[in-house]
């Protein structure tokens, strides 16, 4: 294995956004340790273990966002349901709706039309209408939901 590429390979365990910020410094530190003959096998294990732990923590945070999104979607859907019942038709955008929420609304006699950037999307193909961007963690909701009473 190419010795020079090894530190970069170990750093792949870390999330990309974190690597973009700290990867250069961390790689420099590993190379300094190696140059001084102080790079230990436990350091390699430490790098991989810490990188994987950061990825796991990132996934946990995203799943928390997802749970919050589903809760927001339910509120959004209930508002849509009420509006559909009152006004016949109402368009709204995210925050998030899952297929389960869409099916729930169908069962209440509400027809849902979905458009992403103006293009109709079959509801059966939609799992999540919103997603978090990995770089910023912001919630992106490109899909517009239209509620109509049956």
């Amino acid at each position: 294995m190419n010795e020079g590429k090894q530190p970069r390979r170990w750093l792949r365990a870390f999330p990309r956004a974190w690597r973009d910020r700290y990867g250069g410094e961390l790689q420099g530190l590993v190379e300094d340790l190696r140059a001084q003959g102080d790079l230990r096998s436990s350091d390699r294990i430490d790098l991989v273990r810490k990188g994987l732990a950061m990825r796991r923590d990132g996934l946990r945070r995203r799943s928390t966002f997802g749970a919050l999104g589903i809760a927001a979607a339910t509120v959004c859907a209930l508002v849509g349901l009420a509006l559909a019942g009152t006004f016949g038709s109402q368009a709204t955008t995210g925050p998030v709706a899952s297929r389960g929420v869409i099916e729930e609304l169908h069962s209440h006699g509400v027809i849902i039309e979905l458009h992403t950037h103006g293009v109709p999307v079959p509801a059966q193909r939609v799992v999540t209408l919103c997603h978090t961007t990995t770089s910023t963690g912001n919630l992106q909701c490109p899909t517009e939901i239209t509620f109509r009473s049956r």
């Binding site: 974190w18 530190l29 340790l33 350091d43 294990i45 430490d46 790098l47 810490k50």
Partner: protein, 119 residues
């Protein structure tokens, strides 16, 4: 003692703050200093994990990088958290020393009894 006070630190982040209390340092200098004063060698991943968490919380700040070596300095918020953490640790140590003394007295007495000396 503060109950579950989240403004205090322990483990690698506390060691990093303690090291930066004597002046700005880059990663390798931090690692050497912590090894010297705490006799604990932090792995590079653990060290940078602590650095990133401290920077996220605004407890340390990055200074302009020299090549790939970027020094960090402690912020006023970091100094306050370090002080609170040390106070908390000192209280824990004092309780530990007191309890260790209580533990040793009966042990000495039982050792004397075993040796056949008056208790």
């Amino acid at each position: 003692m503060p109950d579950g006070d989240r403004s205090t630190l322990a483990g690698p982040p506390l060691l990093v703050l303690m090291s930066l209390a004597t002046g700005s340092k880059h990663g390798h200098a931090l690692m050497k200093d912590i090894t010297a004063f705490a006799t604990v060698r932090l792995g590079p991943g653990t060290l940078y994990g602590a650095i990133s968490r401290l920077e996220d919380r605004g407890l340390i700040a990055a200074l302009p990088a020299d090549d790939r070596r970027r020094p960090y300095e402690i912020t006023p918020e970091g100094a306050a958290v370090l002080e609170a953490s040390i106070v908390e640790l000192r209280q824990i140590v004092e309780v530990g020393v007191t309890r260790l003394g209580m533990l040793r007295r009966p042990m000495r007495r039982s050792q004397r009894v075993l040796r056949g000396e008056p208790a």
